[in-house]
Amino acid sequence: MVIEVKWIGFDFGQCLMDPSGLRNYLVIGDVCKAIGEPERIEERIHKYRVLKEKFGSYSIIKEGHRDLIMSYVFDGVEEAKEIFSIKEQEHLAMGSGLGEALHYLRQEGIHLSVVAELKKTLGPMGTDIVTRFLKNKGLIGFFEEMVTPQGRIDLRDGSIDLKYKGKTKEEGNLYDELAKDLRARGIDPTEGAIVGDKLTTDITPSKKRGFKTIQFIGYINYGSSGDVDFVISDFRELKNIVKGKKG
């Protein structure tokens, strides 16, 4: 079966962005070496692991407690802050087949957005992890906007629309706002699709608002659900299931 859509929203973490390469020895190790302290690699990796046990996951640390990476893991070494962000980006990869799929979708005339659960306040483009990633990987030109609980950022002019602020994917009110915006642009949610890995934030709440849903299991498989329309493990599979809807 092939679906015809005018708009697709992509989740970011573990979907557009594949964190497989973010190994502690690479990121923490490279930072220690760059600041001239290779002798402290093991100790700092251990501290980073301790932080993970405290907060539950590395993404929670990065999104909500980034200051602790600097103060606890790197003992407040100022230089480590910027190098950590650079190294983190260097070792992030794109989801499998993403570049080819995005080229195809744009050729089909489909509007593309990033729909991400960003917790950090939005700053100028390139200062948050998502736009920095899109820029570094040469993907920013494919996307028109980034929709987050911190606001909607127009990736063409950098302007920020704060009406999304405080709305989340999990509660679904972010998709309510998105559906309203798309309708104003002449796109019904049934003519749109969400691609993501998490059933609770990407699939079920968007399906309830009428979006088509595509579960990406290329990095992690959170299981199945009746709300899933398609399952893909490589973005190139989108070429077989999605076409641009004219008119």
Binding site: G36, E37, P38, E53
Partner: protein, 228 residues
Amino acid sequence: MSQPKRLIIEFEDGSKKMVEFNQLKKELWLGLSKMGLCPPPPALSELSDHYLLLKWKDGWQEVVGIKKKNVELLRYYTIERTEEVGRMALEVGEEYPVLFLIKRLPRQIEGLWVIGEGGERYYSFAEGQMVKEGGKIEHTLYDKKNPNLFKENSQRAETQFVKMMDAMKEEIKKGGFTPQEILEMDLDHRVERYKAWSRALGVTAMEKQEDLYGFMQRLLMKLGEAEG
């Protein structure tokens, strides 16, 4: 040998600093004892607040001490993942080779330079052989003992080395000193330069920062020799 009380450090100007021996880290105390300066640290110097006893299904048991007043298990889990580690063996003219473990992206190393008193040697790496043994996969990128598979092609590595030396020459020129003049500077001034050059050349230390400064000094000495 009676029990040591304190460690005294005497400086060139005659001043002294001291530390109680029981405040030394166990590793330092052990190191001093290996040098024959004191007996080894006591078998039990301090009681931990808590101890964990881990019991395995096969009957094995291990104990670990924790110097914390309150201890309660938060979680226990294991991580199963394929780890790729490089093993670099070097012949050093002795009975046994020197072995390094390479943890950073081991299969992406493309070349190796050996720089030192014995001159320079260059090795270019390329994946030449893959052997599967049970759950283990071994990728060999260089093997001196298998010349048919790994014909030494050092050209690429040598070209990169020459480029690095040229870049280093440029860095030295910027400072307005000759290699010899820099080599005659005191250590602090040299290290300051080594830090700056290593950043400019994009070189870091794998295990010890001292190795990086030593490497920069070797390059500097080589440039000094070349300039006569």
